[in-house]
């Protein structure tokens, strides 16, 4: 199972280590550093590395490497999932997952890691259970603790761990009972030069925020559940009822959680909300090029497209840009060669346009690659797949909760090739 964990920042310093079995020397990380050196970009470091006696499985999250050492045949996905869970837990506890914050809370981090794995076997990874045992630090609590001498460690048995619903702690109480669901859809798409869709799919997720007293049993039903043929659920969802009735029936964890994720890939269902007309060209002579990008609405279902942003990774030879944006403003980062055009709201009457010239390094050959455009956008009150929640029912408790559903569509990996 998982033997050790090293946290490494992007410059290559090991700033935390945790061993669940015997201690393994940090020198094992040298193999990783070697691979990191070779990969140049931290994103490109291969996640599974073999060394003479160990295997190193790494994830890269928030400019930090979570490197785990294993010695026996362990499913790598198990390790990767666990590492992401560790990162999620830090995020959940401390609000962000960075070197500074981890160093500030090193004892809590250590306690958490100790609770999450025992001898390399996952012990408690549900945030509900963990919070029962180790309370997240808050300013108020640290003040109270210093005054009263009490601690962050809960002294109750994590009952949730043993029941059939390990994700929910017992004895939850709220004065305001509320259950909110966010249906978030991201469009992953590749459009080619001419604007034709090469590939498009929707990654959907239903995020829930449930603060309900007692042991509520919820049922969420959809207007058009047939859209969903590829789903994965939080363990709380009763799969049998989904199979037979196409409703989500579950006893929710307390607090924020991801209820389900789904995936719509059937081509005709994926609407592309905007079109992009672009022309980026470089001249053979004169060390310059032209750029002209226009964006217009396509299938927006009558809603407004907001938060529109275009990112272009320019070829290395591009030194500076001289562009005019009809709307919003643009920046060009010389070091990273990234052009960002922050457009804002898309006005169908007056289409935003960015055009001008690019100047290149003198004597550099004409760039061979064509830069792709990355589009970011947001549409409120719309799930682009057309998914709609029809109702939410609660059983098992007597009170009447506040309920709410919000929809939003975003661009995921939305790329336009040039």
């Amino acid at each position: 199972m998982i033997h050790s964990l090293f946290l490494i920042n992007h410059t290559g310093d090991i700033f935390l280590e945790k061993h669940w079995k015997s201690v393994i020397s940090r020198s094992v990380c040298d193999y990783f550093f070697e691979a990191k050196e070779k990969a140049v970009d931290p994103e490109n470091v291969p996640p599974v590395l073999q060394t003479p006696h160990h295997y190193l499985i790494t994830i890269y999250r928030g400019k930090l490497f979570f490197l785990s050492v294993i010695q026996t045949e362990v499913p790598p996905l198990f390790v990767i999932e666990f590492l992401h869970r560790v990162a999620d837990t830090f995020q959940d506890y401390f609000g962000e997952c960075s070197e500074v914050i981890i160093k500030d809370n090193v004892v809590t981090v250590y306690e958490l890691l100790e609770e999450m794995l025992d001898n390399g076997f996952p012990l408690a990874t549900e945030s509900n259970v963990l919070k029962e045992m180790i309370r997240p630090p808050t300013i108020l609590r640290s003040v109270v603790n210093t005054l009263t001498g009490s601690s962050n460690v809960g002294d109750t048995l994590p009952t949730g761990q043993l029941s059939n619903i390990p994700w929910r702690r017992a004895g939850v109480k709220y004065t305001n009972n509320e259950a909110y669901f966010d249906v978030i859809e991201e469009i992953d798409a590749i459009l080619d030069k001419s604007g034709t869709t090469v590939f498009a799919e929707i990654q959907g997720v239903i995020e829930a925020c449930v603060r309900l007293t007692g042991m509520p049993d919820l049922t969420l039903s959809f207007m058009n559940p047939r859209l969903l043929d590829d789903v994965s659920f939080h363990p709380c969802v009763r799969f049998k009822r989904w199979e037979s009735e196409r409703v989500l029936s579950f006893i929710p964890p307390d607090g924020n959680f991801t209820l389900m994720t789904y995936h719509v890939s059937s081509q005709n269902l994926v609407a592309i909300p905007v079109y992009v007309k672009q022309n980026i060209s470089f001249f053979e002579t004169g060390n310059c090029g032209r750029l002209d990008i226009t964006i217009g609405p396509k299938q927006t279902m009558g809603k407004t497209v907001e938060g529109l942003m275009v990112t272009v990774h320019m070829p290395k030879a591009v030194l500076s840009t001289n562009l005019t944006a009809s709307q919003g403003n643009y920046t060009y980062d010389l070091a990273t060669k990234v052009l960002v055009w922050d457009v804002g709201k898309l006005n169908p009457q007056k289409l935003p346009n960015l055009r001008g010239s690019l100047s290149m390094q003198a004597g550099a050959p004409k760039p061979e690659e064509n830069p792709s455009l990355n589009i970011d956008l947001k549409i409120q009150q719309l799930a682009i797949s057309g998914l709609k929640v029809s109702r939410l029912d609660m059983y098992g408790e007597k009170y009447k909760p506040f309920k709410g559903v919000k929809y939003v569509t975003k661009a995921g990996k939305f790329q336009v090739r040039t």
Binding site: T72, N119, D155
Partner: protein
């Protein structure tokens, strides 16, 4: 380490302060101090000096303080075992605490303290905790058994903890079941043959029940355990599949992949016409696609596994090509894997899309990726015949971009396309030739030269082109040199009149000015061939080449089957069987898919081996018999003249050198020039068997009778006869020196020329007394194999110089190859299997040994005497098959399969000898193909 000591230096003052705080009376101060200690510990500072002070804080009712002290103990108990003992009493007391949280914490921590003295005290509390009323304690105790096993396996077995653990599989709490399974699986890994996880339908049922209710991690353990079960029939298989399928919708991708493994494995048992089979196939695609929208690290592992799945069952994902399209900001390791799968999924139906994508990728920034994309286009052309034309035109478009590395890759793949579809796309050669100057990578240059040589008759200025390469001949890499040599010989055979000078030039460059034995040998072979029989040369050099196919990059089926059983594991990421890389390879069991046909699984060597024998025959035919040509063309007089010239050029000196045993392997494409190894090996084995026929021979290495090596008339009266023997691991040269001259001979000395296996005398020749006329003396010269190496023709040829007071005499002799088989030539079974599978078919050969009156066991014994070890034996249809291995002194392994037909009244031994050898000479692999 350097850093650590630096740290502790810096901390010296700090430690003093902490010590004071730890011994403070105030609870709060104590706790803060322990926290500081823990904080230092986590960043790798050495705070072990505080051990007694921290342990003193352990007896507290404050849970947090207790936990912190436990954390500290786990880290440092190993380095301070004597101090750790002090903590034992508190642990034992805590194991009795009314609070289950503390009981669990205590037993958990105790297990983490890897000190023998403490583990002794652990047994009793652990036994209690395993039967605790609280499931939280039981589940913690289950893991503790695994910890204890890791520290002291014997103790765990003696104390009967394993049985208790097995009982926990039937526990009422699913979490306890999951942890018991996890612990047992981990213990089982170090005991591959113990039947720890004895799976029967009852336990399976319990596991399946627990599967629905335990945590995601528990589900992974249970699914991985289920995958080791072999259902009795297809109905059981189906019912397990039905109960596992809901896991495909789990949010945890590791659960999903483990479920996929179980389904892929059990699916094998379902009849294909079953409705459920089709349903299951359909259900597998969406979860696999979903894995690809996860984080890149997860994607990578998923892609490596999907790569296996599409090879085994392409139908699952055949409509999902688009999800493998590459996004420009995917990490490079994801891009490369996606590309690989795209090619595997490419078919006539989607080839247009695939090609459009590949062309797009060929203009990306990342050079490695671009190269692979260009190669992929070539692979598409070879895989989907209908697309070949489009692929070629795409490649031509790419060549027009003039991007250097794109052009080079394109030329390399076009060569392969020519090999696959001869006489179809040669019209593009002109375009290729335009780019000749820009090629600077050896592979691309070699490919281009191959094309020019192969199609010399269609390229007007082929001679000029090749000549231009010839100018810098010595600066080229060997790959290019070899290719250039072959290409010019081809050109000469096609246009003998104009290129005579060129071919002479290249032959002399290759044979006289080169230090590279490969190049030299190939040069000599061509030279000899051209000079003796130009017609035969034409048949050999311009022989039709076997077509290449896409199969080359597929994983070999038995390996694939095994890997499918290991989906989701490291083996699936590396595409290697676990035995090949798992630490210490603790006898990992080879897993097999439960096919309905796989009845005889009990035998160790998988059933795939026998089929190779048949395949081999075909292969050899392909390689060895030159294709029937339509009558040799009448050679022009010019060519004859050229050949004569060559003869005069320096061939005389060669005759002695070049043994006339060639011809056997030359039908093969000249890319890998095989040397003949026929005579020595088959002969050697024949001898071994002949001898084995005699009854009552002493066991031991075979040694041929002495033969006369140096007749007296050639050596001014000295006659040397001799033989070689291997005695007690030492190779010996046994000689009889006879003086047939009139005068006394003294001052004997011996020297060897460089030879294939580096044989050299281990000491001086011991002839102490002068050898008087008509006297004979027996001399035994021990040999070692550390001398200089040079490849000889034939391989086992040894050139010897003997000196005495009269003169120096030279002779050459051949040693039986069996002298070189070392005593530790017994290969591990697993390694044997893996190696056998890895051997390219080209390296195999078979031949028969006639009239050997031995049964297989006797033969096996005899052979063992000569260090030919029998690894496995099995009987198929009355035929005994012996799998044997031997190792040469230079570390080369030879594997063989020996078939003995028992029912044959003549007791004929049929021997199929499959030899595998790579000889490394100056970094070039010479593949030796022994022929029948």
């Amino acid at each position: 380490m350097m850093n650590d000591s630096l740290f502790s230096l810096v901390c010296a003052g700090e430690i003093f302060e902490l010590k004071a705080e730890l011994n403070s009376d105030k609870k709060e101060k104590k706790k803060e101090a322990v926290k500081k200690v823990i904080a230092s510990m986590t960043v790798g500072k050495d705070v072990s000096a505080l051990f007694p002070d921290v342990v003193n804080c352990m007896q507290t009712d404050n849970l947090e303080l207790k936990k912190l002290v436990y954390l500290y103990l786990m880290n440092y108990a190993k380095s301070q075992p004597d101090m750790a003992i002090m903590a034992v009493n508190t642990f034992v007391k805590d194991c009795e605490d009314p609070n289950p949280l503390i009981r669990a914490l205590a037993v958990r921590t105790m297990g983490c303290i890897r000190v023998d003295k403490i583990t002794e005290y652990l047994c009793e509390p652990l036994r209690k905790c395993l039967k605790d009323e609280d499931p939280y304690v039981r589940k913690t105790a289950a893991v503790c058994v695994a910890k204890l096993h890791d520290i002291n396996a014997q103790l765990v077995e003696d104390q009967g903890f394993l049985d208790t653990l097995k009982d926990l599989i039937s526990d009422s709490n699913p979490m306890v079941v999951a942890n018991a399974v996890a612990a047992l699986s981990e213990i089982a890994e170090s005991h591959p043959n113990s039947n720890l996880l004895d799976l029967n339908p009852q336990t399976i049922n319990k596991l399946l029940t627990a599967l629905n209710e335990c945590t995601e991690w528990g589900q992974i353990f249970i699914l991985d355990c289920l995958a080791n079960y072999t259902p009795r029939d297809d109905r059981e298989s189906q019912s397990i599949c039905e109960r596992v399928t809901p896991r495909l919708s789990h949010a945890n991708s590791a659960v999903v992949l483990s479920a996929v493994k179980v389904l892929m494995k059990f699916m094998e048992m379902l009849p294909k016409d079953l409705d459920y089979y089709g349903t299951l196939l359909k259900k597998l695609a969406p979860p696999l696609v979903t894995l690809l929208s996860a984080e890149p690290e997860l994607q990578y592992v998923a892609l490596r596994n999907i790569n296996l799945i599409v090879q085994r069952r392409p139908e699952i994902l055949k409509h999902e090509m688009k999800v493998f399209f590459v996004k420009y900001n995917d990490p490079i390791y994801v891009k490369l894997e996606k590309l690989d799968i795209m090619i595997r999924l490419a078919s006539q139906a989607n080839i247009a899309q695939v090609l459009a994508e590949l062309k797009e990728y060929a203009t990306e920034v990342d050079v490695d990726f671009v190269r692979k994309a260009v190669r992929a286009i070539g692979r598409c052309a070879i895989k989907v015949e209908q697309s070949a034309e489009r692929c070629v035109s795409t490649l031509l478009d790419l060549i027009q971009t003039k991007v250097n590395y794109v052009v080079q890759e394109a030329i390399v793949v076009i060569k392969d396309i020519f090999r696959k579809y001869p006489n179809k796309y040669e019209s593009v050669i002109a375009t290729l030739c335009e780019n000749l100057d820009s090629l600077d990578e050896p592979e691309a240059r070699a490919a281009m030269i191959w094309i020019v040589g192969e199609y010399a008759e269609r390229i007007d200025n082929a001679d000029e082109l090749l000549e231009s390469f010839l100018e810098g001949f010595h600066d080229e890499s060997t790959q290019v040199q070899l290719q250039l040599l072959t290409a010019i010989v081809k050109l000469f055979l096609k246009k003998p009149t104009e290129t005579q000078e060129l071919v002479q030039q290249v032959l002399s460059l290759a044979t006289q000015d080169s230090d590279n034995p490969d190049l030299r040998d190939r040069g000599y072979i061509y030279w000899r061939l051209l000079s003796t029989d130009p017609v035969a040369a034409k048949e050999v050099v311009l022989a039709e080449k076997p077509l290449i196919s896409e199969e080359t990059d597929l994983i070999e089926p038995t390996l694939l089957e095994e890997l499918i059983c290991h989906i989701g594991t490291l083996a699936s990421v590396y595409h290697k069987p676990p035995s090949a890389f798992v630490e210490g390879s603790r006898g990992v069991q080879h897993k097999r898919l439960p096919g309905s046909s796989a009845a005889g699984v009990s035998e160790a060597p998988p059933a795939v081996i026998p089929s190779q024998g048949d395949l081999l025959g075909d292969l050899l035919n392909l390689d060895l018999t030159p294709p029937t040509t339509t009558g040799p063309p009448p050679p022009s007089s010019g060519m004859q003249m050229g050949a004569m010239d060559l003869l005069g050029g320096g061939l005389d000196s060669l005759v002695g050198y070049l043994h006339s045993t060639m011809g056997a392997g030359f039908g093969a494409p000249p890319a890998a020039m095989p040397a003949s190894f026929t005579a020595p090996v088959s002969g050697g084995l024949d001898d071994l068997f002949d001898l084995g026929g005699g009854v009552g021979m002493p066991m031991g290495a075979y040694s041929p009778p002495k033969t006369v090596w140096l007749p007296a008339m050639k050596a001014k009266g000295l006659e040397i006869s001799g033989t070689f023997a291997r005695r007690a691991g030492v190779i010996q040269m046994e000689m009889t020196l006879t003086n047939k001259a009139m005068s006394v001979m003294t001052d004997f000395a011996i020297q060897f020329n460089r030879n294939s296996f580096g044989l050299a005398p281990a000491g001086p020749l011991q002839v102490l007394t002068p050898l008087s006329p008509n006297q004979s003396i027996e001399v035994t010269l021990p040999l070692n194999t550390v001398g200089p190496v040079m490849k000889m023709e034939p391989l086992n040829n040894l050139q010897v110089a003997v000196k005495n007071n009269i003169d120096v005499f030279y002779f050459s002799c051949q040693y039986p190859i069996s002298m070189l088989f070392v005593e530790d030539g017994k290969m591990e079974r697993q390694v044997f299997l893996a190696t056998w599978k890895d051997i390219p078919n080209d390296n195999e050969s078979q031949f028969q040994i006639k009239d050997c009156h031995l049964n297989s066991d006797a033969a096996s014994n005899k052979l063992q005497g000569s260090n030919i070890f029998t690894i496995a034996k099995r009987t198929v249809e009355g035929q005994d098959m012996l799998y044997q291995s031997m190792k040469l002194t230079n570390g080369i392994w030879v594997l063989a399969e020996l078939r003995v037909q028992a029912g044959n009244p003549n007791y004929t031994v049929i021997c199929t000898c499959v030899l595998y050898m790579y000889l490394q000479f100056n970094n070039i692999n010479i593949i030796i193909i022994p022929a029948a």
